[in-house]
């Protein structure tokens, strides 16, 4: 596990994550466990009944928090999966009686049907270029479709009255209470473990910056679909529990009203905290049970108003606010130790060039941005791509890194044809791309960003937080030269611009790419930072044999480090050669002077 590191001492003047040892959280957990253990002796039958149901609902609320609070997917549809689980119990027990085999059948149905439906919904909602609105609206359609199907099911599904009076597990109320409580604790712990694990940080990375994830080789769509299936199954099992306990299943359990209630509980409870929605769900359910008879309309109104106020004014939720005095701040993540990872994979020097482009063109309608680009770059080269604004340099980079971008022509990365493949596939062929604006994960720490960057090489654990962070030597160089190794615990958002640029470069290098595309790496940097980056890039090419391609405006910088210059003008490559050749050519001078006749230098 993590060794104590002296780096954990806060650097003067810099804000570090509050180092609460999680004591407040532990205390809360103990209180909760106690309540579950002694409940049956403390609470009356009515309250026990309510609590059991609310525990099952709380499990569903936790799944909503994982999807929305952690991954950024606003979903109204988790109630559909809850309802499927409930109806699995209701339908099987009503029509096939109650026995060991039917229980297994019902459980199996709950798991399989929720997984299948979630897979379908995931396929519909998560694809490259999907809009988050669309995913949310689909999640709203799901429960509505389900409810309608149930309502039209006639006697078989019980229609609007649902199914009642079926035989179920013969357990006492106390036993149910302990089972539901245990299930809630288990679900909560499982979610907690996954979300805090190294792999769980990928969820936050996807929420922050999905494009960057693609360019690190992570197929965000697949991750989201897998997550949806997993949470759907859990919600379905919770629903199964509910259906088995209450002996009544009605279409309301699958409907969008419950779906929105789940969102409300999570929002009020505090999205992205897990314990907030848990507590919120239980408390609100209990309160609703007691208050809905005495002040039915006012209570719903209060909830609605509270919800709107929280969204507008207090997005972090009410429960964290109320419990703040108890010291429940953000937990510091363990700071890992840095270690070197031997560069894996095929030897860098191979017979195929790092990049080959043949006849590449790009058109926007009738506008030709790139025409007939033929370019080759080899390992160990550092190509400077220069040209006036609008020449097409960034478009060229995009065509190299995303198979779907170009209109025609072929692009090969390390001998592999990228065809129409998306960026995450190009990354697997050996591409690394650094963007002009620091494209990082703003809410994650430096260490977490770096670890996620290495995902395709070292799969992060779904369970643990690894105490060691392994990086290839050149990435380590960048981290050490820019002193990011003293700031591993700092949230990326709080870094200076130069540090963010360095972090992004280190992340790209952690991929062990064979070809690195850099878009204006010196933009906004100070002179010292610029020199440092220059040295790093030189060593990448000359010492480690990577192929680097940079778009730059700062020609002094390019002169220092480039082995070859390529000049792009109005979508075509007009010249290639050494820096001296290019700079002294008449053609290039004309292009940069901006007019189409050679300017008179003497009047």
């Amino acid at each position: 596990m993590a060794e104590a590191r002296t780096d954990r001492l806060p650097v003067a003047g810099q804000q570090t994550a509050p180092i609460r040892s999680g004591r407040g959280l532990l205390a809360l957990g103990i209180v909760g466990l106690l309540l579950i253990a002694v409940g049956p002796w403390v609470f009356d039958t009515y309250l026990l009944n309510i609590l059991i149901k609310s525990f099952f609902f709380a499990i569903a609320a936790i799944t909503v928090d994982v999807l929305w609070g952690y991954t950024g997917y606003l979903t109204f549809g988790q109630s559909a999966f809850f309802g499927i689980g409930a109806y699995a119990a209701g339908l099987v027990f009503t029509h096939s009686g109650f026995s060991v085999s039917t229980v297994l059948l019902a459980l199996g149905a709950a798991v399989l049907v929720t997984a299948a439906v979630a897979g379908l919904v995931g396929w519909l909602s998560f694809y490259r270029g999907a809009s988050p609105f669309f995913a949310t609206v689909i999640s709203l359609v799901l429960p509505i479709v389900l409810t309608q199907l149930l309502l039209s099911g006639g006697a078989w599904t019980g229609s609007s009255s649902g199914l009642t009076g079926y035989e179920s597990f013969d357990l006492s109320l106390e036993a149910w209470y302990w089972i539901a409580g245990a299930a809630l604790v288990a679900a909560g712990l499982l979610a907690w473990m996954v979300v805090r694990s190294d792999a769980g940080r990928i969820l936050a990375a996807i929420r922050d910056n999905e494009s960057r994830c693609s360019y690190l080789g992570i197929n965000a769509s697949l991750v989201k679909i897998a997550l949806l299936v997993a949470t759907a199954v859990i919600a379905g099992l919770a629903g199964f529990g509910y259906g088995s306990f209450s002996g009544v299943v009605a279409p309301e359990l699958t409907g969008f009203v419950l779906g929105t209630e789940l969102i409300i509980w999570v929002a009020l409870g505090g999205r992205g905290t897990l314990w907030g929605p848990l507590i919120g769900a239980v408390l609100i359910n209990v309160a609703t049970a007691y208050l809905s008879s005495s002040m039915p309309f006012a209570w719903q109104l209060i909830l609605g108003v509270a919800f709107v106020l929280v969204i507008v004014l207090l997005p972090q939720g009410l429960v964290p606010l109320l419990l703040k005095p108890l010291g429940l701040g953000r937990q510091a993540s363990n700071v890992p130790a840095l270690a070197e990872r031997a560069v894996s994979g095929k030897p860098v020097v191979s017979d195929k060039p790092a990049l080959t482009m043949r006849g590449v063109t790009k058109r926007f309608g009738s506008l030709k941005v790139l025409q007939g680009i033929d370019l080759q770059a080899n390992a160990g080269e550092l190509l400077g791509l220069i040209g006036p604004n609008g020449a097409g340099k960034t478009t060229l980079m995009r065509c190299m890194s995303d198979g779907a971008d170009r209109t025609s022509g072929e692009v090969e990365l390390c001998g592999n044809d990228i065809g129409l493949l998306p960026p995450d596939a190009c990354v697997r062929f050996g591409l690394g791309r650094k963007f002009q604006n620091a494209n990082i994960f703003e809410s994650l720490t430096v260490a977490e960003c770096l670890r996620i960057a290495g995902t395709i090489l070292e799969k992060p654990s779904l369970v643990r937080c690894d105490g060691i962070l392994r990086l290839p030597p050149y990435a380590l160089d960048v981290v050490r030269t820019t002193e990011l190794d003293r700031k591993l615990n700092v949230v990326a958002r709080d870094l200076s611009h130069g540090e963010q640029q360095a972090l992004e470069l280190a992340m790209v290098l952690a991929l062990e790419p064979r070809i690195v595309l850099l878009d204006e790496p010196t933009a906004g940097l100070t002179k010292t930072e610029r020199t440092r980056i220059g040295m790093v890039l030189s060593s990448l090419a000359h010492r480690y044999g990577l192929c680097c391609l940079l778009v730059e405006h700062d020609l002094d910088f390019v002169e220092e480090i480039a082995t070859r210059i390529v000049v792009l003008h109005q979508g075509t490559i007009v010249m290639e050669g050494s820096f001296q050749e290019v700079v002294n050519s008449e053609l290039v001078k004309t292009i940069y002077a901006g007019s189409t006749h050679t300017p008179k230098e003497t009047t």
Binding site: H497, A593, P599, K600
Partner: protein, 235 residues
């Protein structure tokens, strides 16, 4: 004539965390035309966007005439009399020429009068007011940009590389139009350019911007001006 000067005092700005302009000070007298030259990525467009209110200032003040416009939103600054022609996405390609021209005006009623005024310099638009701006050639689009700016009767015109990608003959026409405007109304101008001869022809004074700071300035009409400028732009 509603002339006004433009004053920047120790302005610092940039995008998100980065700083592009550092402590930049610049004064343009009422009626003066200044051209800002420099290689790409040096902060020229950023300067115009900062003046127009699109980028928050991290320090310094900007004054139009006597009025402090540092904290104002772009539409307020436009109404106070600054016409800005951006380098990209500066026209509504799905709207007609007429619509593009009249969107800058406060009152519809003056359209006829103002259009008649600029017509001698922009004869090509008169019979094509209903044509969609997206179907115009590159040169015509830039002419339209300028026409729109002139019709707003601004106190200050900001131009971002208006000659980019144009043929010499069109560039000549643009220069003529700008000189005509200066003669007619003495409008203050800040012209960002890569095309040095054009810039020096139209402006009174030139400034060279490098890495977000002004490194040289001088009279545009003096003989050695082109040489001095080229020495900074040397590839």
């Amino acid at each position: 004539m509603n002339q006004a000067g433009l004053h920047l005092d120790a302005v610092t700005s940039g995008y998100k965390a980065s700083v592009v302009l550092r402590d930049l000070s610049l004064a343009i007298a009422p009626g003066e035309a200044v051209t800002l030259l420099g290689k790409n990525g040096m902060g020229k467009s950023t300067l115009l966007k900062t003046v127009m209110g699109y980028l928050p200032k991290k320090g310094g003040t900007i004054r139009l005439g006597g009025e402090d416009i540092t904290r104002l939103a772009p539409h307020r600054i436009a109404r106070l009399g600054i016409a800005y022609a951006a380098q990209e996405h500066a026209l509504f390609t799905d709207l007609s020429i007429r619509d593009n021209l009249r969107l800058g005006l406060v009152k519809e009623s003056v359209f006829g009068e103002r259009f008649a005024e600029i017509e001698p310099v922009f004869p090509v638009f008169k019979s094509r007011l209903k044509q969609y701006a997206g179907t115009l050639s590159g040169g015509e689009q830039k002419m339209l940009l300028l026409a729109r700016a002139l019709m707003m009767r601004p106190a200050v015109i900001l131009l971002d590389e208006i000659t980019e990608g144009l043929q010499p003959s069109v560039i000549d026409r643009l220069a003529k139009a700008l000189l005509w405007e200066r003669e007619q109304r003495g409008t203050t101008m800040l012209i960002i350019e890569q095309n040095v001869p054009f810039a020096l022809k139209v402006a009174d004074r030139f400034l060279v911007l490098k890495q977000g700071e002004i490194v040289d300035e001088g009279d545009a009409k003096v003989g050695d001006a082109p040489e001095r400028v080229f020495s900074h732009l040397r590839v």
